[in-house]
């Protein structure tokens, strides 16, 4: 059991990071911490994906000395996927930060519960 965990230590780390990110995203009241949790969760996914493509002792898949033997290089596809994923998470983070900024300007707090209370009060006053 322990041996299996040690052999897959990167995957185990990725799963732990994912859980940390998910709980932060779900349970924290502070919006900025939620966004950090989101980023940890995404990073965990990328770590997992990269570790799938990595093969011990092989080179980065960039041809420098003219050798096209696939046995020399690691799998480039997961790295490509991770790059795409990073682009996605950057844009998502940017939108979330913009939303947070707007909420902060209006309610002067980052605590989601307090913002919720204030919005609820506004809503009660509506016709």
């Amino acid at each position: 059991m322990l041996q299996a965990l040690w052999n897959n230590r990167i995957e185990v780390a990725a799963v732990i990071l994912f859980a940390v990110g998910l709980t932060t995203l779900l349970l924290h009241k502070n919006l900025l911490k939620k966004i950090i949790g989101l980023n940890i969760m995404d990073t965990a996914g990328y770590l997992f994906l990269t570790s799938l493509g990595y093969i011990e002792g092989r080179l980065a898949p960039i041809i420098t000395d003219g050798s096209t033997d696939p046995e020399r290089y690691v799998n480039p596809l997961p790295a490509g996927l991770v790059l795409t994923g990073i682009v996605v998470s950057v844009s998502v983070t940017a939108v979330m930060l913009a939303l947070t900024l707007r909420l902060y300007r209006r309610y002067h707090t980052l605590n989601l519960d307090e913002i919720y209370k204030m919005v609820h009060r506004e809503q009660e006053e509506e016709p």
Binding site: L38, V88, L99, P127
Partner: protein
Amino acid sequence: MSFCLNFPLFLLVGSLLSAVLSCALEKNAARILCMALTITSFAANLVIGIYTYRTGQNYTYLMGHYPHPWGNELRIGLTEALFSAAFSLILFLTLLGARKTLIQRVQQDKGRFYYCMCDLVQAALLALVYTNDLFTGYVFIEICTLSSCGILMIRENGKTILASVRYMIFSLIGSGLFLLGVIFLYGITGHLLMPNLRESIAGLSADGTYALPLLASMCLIVTGLSVKSGLFPFHIWMADTYGAAIPGSSGILSGLVSKGYSFLLIKIIFDVFGTDVFYASGIHNVVFALGGLGVIVGSVSAIRENNVLRMCAYSSAAQIGYIYMGLGLSPVLGMEAALFQILAHAFTKPALFLSAGYLTDSMGGAKKFRNLTGAAHVNPAAGAFFAFGAFSMIGLPLTMGFIVKYLFGAAAFESTHLKLIPTLLVLAVSTVLNTVYFARAILHFYTKNPNPDVYSKVRVREQKTYILSASVFAALNLFFGIFAKPLIDILAGALSVF
């Protein structure tokens, strides 16, 4: 004729380009571009539909002619063509009907961004329907999330921004889980293209290797997509989101975006896991139970709500429950019912949200029922279309809602005894609950207002585009409610070659 095979790619690239172009255009030009795009997409998908109906086969479109495993592929069959045509038409009609509310509620200089986001929603929906590659699916899920957040937060008040934040958090949890599921699948199979995945998964499940990772990835993908489409108990973001957005956005979000995710899930069940593996895993039983609970809980929450837009939002939660109930019920008739429900709800909900929006507008922005008394006398057209939408939601004969209930009944009898009674019970109870809350709304709208002269009657020419769009929605609903057989046959035929 075979030239039409290129249409899906043209539509995807066209939608993405129009989105970029819209940012630089005036609001009206952006609107015309977006409308032209959606109606072109509708026509092109009809042509593809006719082509695939004639050949009776799906076709795979290799992007850049790279064969697998290097290339990225689209796969289009009759189901895909039918659903993308329907989604484009609904987007067109919703934008047409929502024009007046957009002018009133969105700042003049932001209008073009709204249409930019709509172009992106269209691109994402088309890609979710067409894609033959799971990772492309993930990327467009995120594009769909971001663009739907855009059309949600276009109205800048505290309520909407908070709703956008909550919507984003739930959506991102959903897409995070989906991504993890895709990575698991890639880890055990080494593929991302759906046909390769299906082959490997069939092999893995036959010899029992990697049983746990396979089950885990199935759970993650199903959970991720159901969080995003708002299945119980993940529906809690819905009321705030749909209740706070402008009516057109609520229509697009509930009628199209959540349906796009549900359709992708159905496609994944058929093309990636294969129905045999999926229905042997037992996940469908959980999905069935949550779907049934969602129908009841959504309806009860709708009864307790005193705000008309939030009531419609909870009704959406209940209708999403139906889709998942069908999905869990059985692979043939249950799936058929789920697909029909996607179309039925997509043809009804946007019109319902638009009508509710026009009714509240004509009463000076009031949203609570006690302040909406007599709204249908002030705005007779919106009242009538709201009532028609409500009839379809309840499931009165001649509407698509009735056919949905009929299909669910038929599917229940095909499934096991354990699911027969719960399905019939849910159908019966939800019909009663639907009647309760929609009847209450309609009674409020048609009761005479004690001070009838406060609000001036809304004339037809003030809302021409809305009446046009709502009439087309109602006509389509009636048409498919009366002549449902051809559509059901097409869906059944399409499912057999999915």
